[in-house]
């Protein structure tokens, strides 16, 4: 912060002199770039205090040593080596930690694909099929209603529905489709993905809708006039223009699902481990450096995914 202000102060008199020589030197404090810094400042401070600094601490702690009851501030790679203990010896079989990360990625991919599909069409419907602004507003508000209750409740509500003696199973048995309760409905990958999709589709709908609503309708008319089919319009006009929304929504969903351990825990009957779960157990066992190491690994993976996505779409340019 200090350096940037210094630079600013050094740079701004020149700027001012160049642009308007008549102004007194005092006005230099209100130069456009200073105003920009001022506007960005609060957010930068918040970002620094609540994100960057804690993150630096996490990285530092991940390289500390530890014992049963305290952190030992001495450089050690133990947090990382413990995490991957026995993984090389076990090759070509994957060790549990690798499997856990793969499982996390798999769940994340499934949830991403499904929420993207549903979210895209919901947003499409809202943006292009609902003509009146009032209805658009009303319907998108309707989408938020589930968010009036807590995540946990929305998640737990699935349990009596999907359970062995739950509503779905008793319904299936009554119409004679099955004669034994379907067990994979609950405490399985199916229920995990179902709950996550239910919880997070909205995070796809909003950004995509937001991009779509800004598409100039005359572009679609032009495509129509030029003889494009509906599919061609969708592929060549709407999807490219909705890309920023798709990417932002994807980032929301991917970051949340990669870090989630509560939904996966509850809906998976605690039998499906995810990367977040490893961190939680480590913290509970007071192994903070190991937890931090796992957090760093998770962060790197998530960061790589997001970098790949922003390679596909340059969000800065699109916005």
């Amino acid at each position: 912060m200090d350096t940037s202000e210094d630079i600013l102060q050094q740079a701004s008199p020149d700027l001012v002199r160049g642009s308007d020589k008549a102004r007194p030197a005092k006005a230099a404090r209100l130069s456009p770039s200073f105003i920009s810094w001022l506007q960005a400042g609060p957010m930068m401070l918040v970002f620094l205090a609540f994100f960057l600094i804690p993150l630096v601490f996490v990285v530092i702690v991940s390289f500390w040593d530890y014992n049963e009851y305290q952190l030992l501030p001495a450089f050690s790679g133990r947090g990382y080596t413990d995490t991957f203990e026995g993984c090389i010896a076990q090759l070509p079989d994957l060790c549990t930690i690798a499997k856990t990360y793969l499982k996390t990625l798999k769940l994340c991919f499934l949830v991403w694909a499904i929420t993207l599909f549903i979210g895209f069409w919901v947003a499409y419907f809202l943006a292009f099929h609902v003509k009146s602004k009032t209805w658009q507003m009303g319907l998108s508000l309707l989408c938020t209603i589930p968010f009036w209750t807590s995540n946990v409740i929305r998640m737990i509500a699935w349990i009596p529905l999907l359970g062995r003696n739950g509503l779905v199973n008793s319904g299936l048995m009554k119409i004679g489709l099955v004669n034994q309760p379907v067990e994979w409905l609950l405490f399985s990958e199916f229920s995990v993905v179902l709950a996550l999709v239910h919880l997070f589709t909205f995070f796809m709908v909003v950004p995509i809708f937001n991009s779509m609503i800004r598409i100039d309708k005359s572009l679609i008319e032009a495509a129509y006039d030029a003889g494009a089919t509906g599919l061609q319009t969708l592929l060549n006009v709407i999807i490219p223009l909705a890309k920023p929304g798709i990417v932002i929504g994807s980032i929301f969903v991917i970051t949340i699902v990669m870090g989630d351990f509560i939904t996966i825990g509850v809906m998976g009957g605690q039998q499906i481990a995810a990367a977040g779960k490893i961190i939680e157990t480590r913290v509970n066992a007071l192994q903070f450096p190991a937890a931090a190491a796992n957090a760093v690994i998770l962060l790197v993976i998530t960061f790589l995914i997001i970098t790949m996505m922003s390679r596909i779409v340059d969000i800065k340019k699109e916005l």
Binding site: E68, Y69, Q70, D82, E85, T96, I97, K99, T100, K103, I159, P160, G163, R164, N165, G166, E183, L186, F187, G265, G269, Q270, Q271, I272, A273, K277, I278, T281, R282, V283, N284, A285, L286, Q287
Partner: protein
Amino acid sequence: MTETTKKTGVSRRTLLKSTAGLAGLAAGSGAITGFPYVMSAEPKVLRYLGTAVNEGDDISKQCLKDTGIKIEYITATTDDVTKRVMTQPNSFDVLDTEYFSLKKLVPSGNILALDAKKIKEFDNITPVFTKGETPGGKKIGSQGTAPWKVLYLEGKDSKTFSKTATEFVTLIPTVYNADTLGIRPDLIKRPINSWSELLNPEFKGKASILNIPSIGIMDAAMVVEATGKYKYADKGNMTKEEIDLTMKVMTEAKKAGQFRAFWKDFNESVNLMASGETVIQSMWSPAVTKVRSMGIACTFQPLKEGYRSWASGFCVSKGVSGPKLDWAYEFVNWFLSGYAGAYLNRQGYYSAVLSTAKANMEPYEWAYWMEGKPAEKDIKAPDGSLLEKAGAVRDGGSYEDRMGAVACWNAVMDENDYMVRKWNEFIAA
């Protein structure tokens, strides 16, 4: 009085108001002995960190009534309590935690041992804690972190446990119980008498175990021993090989689809059992009671290999001193004086001082909860709801029978770090 008032120009009304206020303050602080004392007394407040076991509104209200000490509960899970002691020792005054945590807490230096001489009922504490035997003389299994192994410290600020009785007590015992498996007798329809039934393929996809590593591994060890696969020197302090073996047995069962789910808190275990997702699982006594109070048959099944026990107690934060420390002693003394003990006994736990709890219970209640006799009258929970109809007998019988059959205690192993990693692998497998 009126004269003075007139002279100083204070109206009678104002005086009445302020007197009433002071009287209220006096009543609130529990000091109704002297006017000047009230003026200088600060409110007696203790921040009480613990799991929800001992924390009840009724207990805090009664405590305020009897001693004037206001208890502010800070409720957390066992793991979180430990974390908090390590990282924020100044955020609480009184700590209510389990004996097995002491292996982590004492070396951290963040807790203060209490002075046994200042605890009125200390000599009346059940020999379960002090000698490792029941009042009737039955020897209790000492595997794991048995309370008597970690009850005393060598000195006031010592970080080593003393093998003999000293003045300095790590945790003043409050509550404990003997845990076993819970079953749904209506869905199993045959007698269950061994821990090995948890892995019986008959219950494939209908069994559960708790996902708290240090407790779960003890249950797993009870199962492994019951199947005759291996006999541990100390289930509560396994070697790496023993941990590997235990987790291998459990992982194989898991991969074969034995478990429906794992649970981590009280309500999860109740839901699993009540909804019929599981028919056999490790469970806690009040959870069984809860399922039963929903009108669903559930038994806290005594097993031939015995129980896995746990115990908790009070100590204070290192930062507590002066009057606050006196209040802490006052509170602990009050807690052992009967009301709280009876309250806990009525929930199916056991109180540390039996004599005072007995004095606070009806004879028929004592006979049901502690002597294993059929209930003469309906048994009510502390909140007044019906627990058992007259004629019912407590699962596992009397105090002597249950505590006398304890095989091991919840523990923190020397290889705890390794164990937690292996447990994680089991959960993820």
